[in-house]
């Protein structure tokens, strides 16, 4: 029975952050942490200065270049003049407003959603924003985190608040257990396949159940990261002992007396029994096989053992039309076995899958094997300088390089092809990133989303392959 007094985890975080009501349905909400990068902030700073306004809380703001940065030749100036200007402006703007900036030459630099948890800045119960849709990642630590546009970036810089309507509550309970070879990326893709690309629009998703509890904090980040691909602006997991162990001792985690106070506060951050959710979905993890996308929306997903679907089999006429177009763009014929699809490039990286556990999982598959001859390029782009250093300490870089992979400097890279790392027109990429939209990895690029282990075996096989046959 739903208890009207019972609250969800998100209800609690929301209530903690209400500065005041704007009208019956709109609230002014306080923001605890604002992450900024070079792509979505220049116009915000320009307007701020034009209106003679100041940054309210530079101490609650951190800047890092990640979208544009080259993944090679870091000792040389950035070649592309537009990228160079954006990176330079980020440095100048943050300096002028007293905001901390991790430069391209700082070992702490990396993808914004990788470095904030890594530094211990992302903490349970916080409200976190960034001008990037994958801000949902931070929900893995029990923070309410969501992507915003440039106007909102400017609003947060000036006021440390946002004007918002409260999103609805949705819970996805994952029962059973993940089978051998199945990762949280497969779980994320499967969930998007079940609820659709707009299944969580207007909602904050709380991921719960035994499978979520069993996931590592990094694996939870992959899951929360992909929430936006199901339409949800944020996804979160209640903090537990794993969350506390993850945070303890990180550079920006609470220290000394504050640590105990923080841990006691974090313990209050959970959903009450009997709390009401506007939408509830239950997923059986045991049914999940390795997932791979076939189309141009993350909801176009299927098991590796499956075949490219026949658009005429979709009941919904819009979905039918969209699938037809998607297959045309992807250059695929209905009925083709997914495992028969040849790939040209492999990309292991992005805010979805570039943490140390991701690299370990891919390296395990690659060890002692070679990248297939038909692969034009296989890239590993660690999520941060610190992830890269840790991987090198473990010798993972050697495993990748000996197999024929390129080992690069941290950044968003081939996930969205803003730097020189692109997928060519008509080329097919097995990618651990988050979006398979037309043109996402370069004009005419064809993307198949999958887990790091699946990307690794695709590189070895030269085609989409089943990770379970390589273990």
């Amino acid at each position: 029975m739903a208890d009207p007094q019972a609250k969800t985890l998100f209800d609690r975080i929301w209530e903690n952050h209400v500065v005041g009501q704007r009208d019956a349905v709109t609230s002014l909400i306080y923001i605890d942490l604002h992450l900024i990068h070079e792509l979505s902030s220049p116009q915000a700073f320009e307007n701020l200065v034009l209106n003679n306004r100041k940054v309210r809380r530079p101490d609650a703001t951190l800047a890092v270049p990640d979208h544009n940065v080259p993944t090679t030749d870091r000792d040389k100036p950035v070649k592309d003049p537009e990228s160079a200007l954006q990176i330079q402006l980020l440095e100048e703007n943050t300096k002028a407003h007293g905001i901390e900036f991790f430069s391209m030459h700082d070992i702490r630099q990396g993808i914004v959603h990788i470095i904030s948890p890594e530094q211990g800045l992302t903490q349970p119960g916080m409200s976190i924003v960034c001008g990037d849709s994958h801000t949902s990642t931070h929900g893995a630590l029990g923070a309410w985190a969501f992507g915003i546009g440039t106007s909102e970036v400017e609003h947060v810089l000036a006021t440390q608040t946002l004007v918002l309507r409260k999103p609805a509550n949705m819970r996805i309970t994952v029962k059973g257990e993940l089978l051998n070879g199945i990762t949280s990326k497969d779980l994320a893709l499967h969930i998007i396949g079940v609820i659709g690309a707009k299944g969580a629009t207007g909602h904050v998703i709380e991921y719960a159940g035994p499978v979520i509890e069993a996931l590592s904090v990094e694996a939870r980040m992959t899951l929360c990261n992909m929430t936006i691909e199901a339409g949800g602006r944020s996804g979160l997991v209640a903090p537990d002992d794993k969350t506390i162990r993850y945070l303890k001792g990180r550079p920006r985690a609470p220290k000394d007396g504050d640590w105990d106070k923080a841990v006691a506060f974090w313990a209050t951050l959970k959903t009450d029994a009997g709390a009401r959710f506007d939408k509830e979905v239950v997923v059986d993890a045991k049914k999940i096989e390795p997932q791979v996308t076939w189309g141009t929306s993350p909801e176009d997903v299927i098991s590796i053992s499956g075949r490219v679907p026949d658009p005429t089999h979709f009941e919904n006429p819009e979905r039918r039309e969209a699938a037809k177009k998607a297959l045309q763009y992807m250059g695929l014929k209905p009925g083709t076995l997914m495992r028969d699809i040849l790939v040209d490039r492999v990309f292991i990286g992005s805010c979805t899958n570039s943490r140390i556990e991701d690299l370990r999982s891919a390296a395990k598959m690659i060890k002692g094997r070679r990248v297939a001859d038909n692969i034009i390029e296989a890239l590993v782009v660690p999520g941060s300088g610190l992830v890269k250093a840790q991987a090198e300490k473990e010798g993972l870089d050697k495993i990748f390089k000996e197999a024929g992979f390129e080992w690069r400097e941290p950044g968003c890279s081939m996930c969205l092809g803003l730097n020189p790392d692109k997928v060519g027109p008509g080329e097919r990429c097995a990618s651990t990133s988050n979006r398979n939209f037309p043109g996402r990895q370069g004009p005419g690029a064809r993307t198949h989303l999958l887990s790091p282990a699946m990307a690794a075996v695709a590189a070895i096989a030269g085609k989409l392959a089943d990770v379970r046959e390589y273990e």
Partner: protein, 202 residues
């Protein structure tokens, strides 16, 4: 911000669902530090062929829809990235209002901050509008929250967030509004710092 009150215009229709922000403006055009001049990149992949020539099959290349200030689109419009450049590109193309069954959350948050009106209607209403918009202009009245087909009896009421409506009608600067609540924000901060001192560093 430009005010929005009423608008009568031809409406371009794009019925497919999940039109993502990369289709609205490809990522490579985000390397600008300005907001203006992005209209030429709007719908770039659909609007131009490989040689950069106009694709005659694309609705924004067809008269009278090349002058459309209203877009009627399939569900989950604006999904994907948070790029506000998508709104800037559409606005620069001349679009002032979009009608869809559902908008992606971040796009829905970005649009009104740039004077762009988003109208959510039911599936059947959208289908009817799309059909009739082929030969008649569409009229939008924000104060009375009505969409209608010019010279026809079709009148569809729509719902609207009251705060977004006020901002659009008056062309308000949202930051200036919030800065008026400065004292309230400071009071909140003092209370929140007491509860979570580890979130404040000087």
């Amino acid at each position: 911000m430009r005010k929005f009150e009423t608008l009568t215009s031809w409406a371009a229709t794009l019925p497919q669902p999940n039109i993502d922000t990369a289709q609205l403006i490809p990522a490579r055009h985000l390397k600008t530090v300005k907001r203006d001049g992005l209209g030429r990149f709007a719908f770039e992949a659909a609007r131009y062929d490989k040689k950069g020539e106009s694709n005659p099959d694309f609705i924004f290349n067809q008269s009278p829809f090349d002058k459309a200030e209203i877009l009627i689109a399939g569900a989950n419009f604006g999904c994907g990235s948070s790029r506000e450049h998508a709104v800037w590109a559409l606005a620069d193309l001349g679009i002032r209002a979009i009608i869809s069954e559902q908008f992606a959350d971040i796009f829905a948050s970005n649009a009104p901050k740039n004077g762009m009106l988003l109208i959510t209607l039911g599936r059947d209403e959208i289908a009817e509008l799309m059909q009739r918009a082929k030969s008649k202009r569409v009229r939008i009245n924000l104060p009375s929250q009505i969409v209608e087909i010019e010279d026809m009896q079709v009148k569809i009421p729509f719902e609207m967030d009251p705060f977004d409506k006020k901002c659009l009608l008056e062309g308000l600067d949202q930051i200036a509004l919030t800065l008026r609540q400065n004292a309230e924000i400071s009071t909140y901060e003092a209370r929140w710092e007491k509860k979570t001192p580890w979130l404040f560093h000087d």
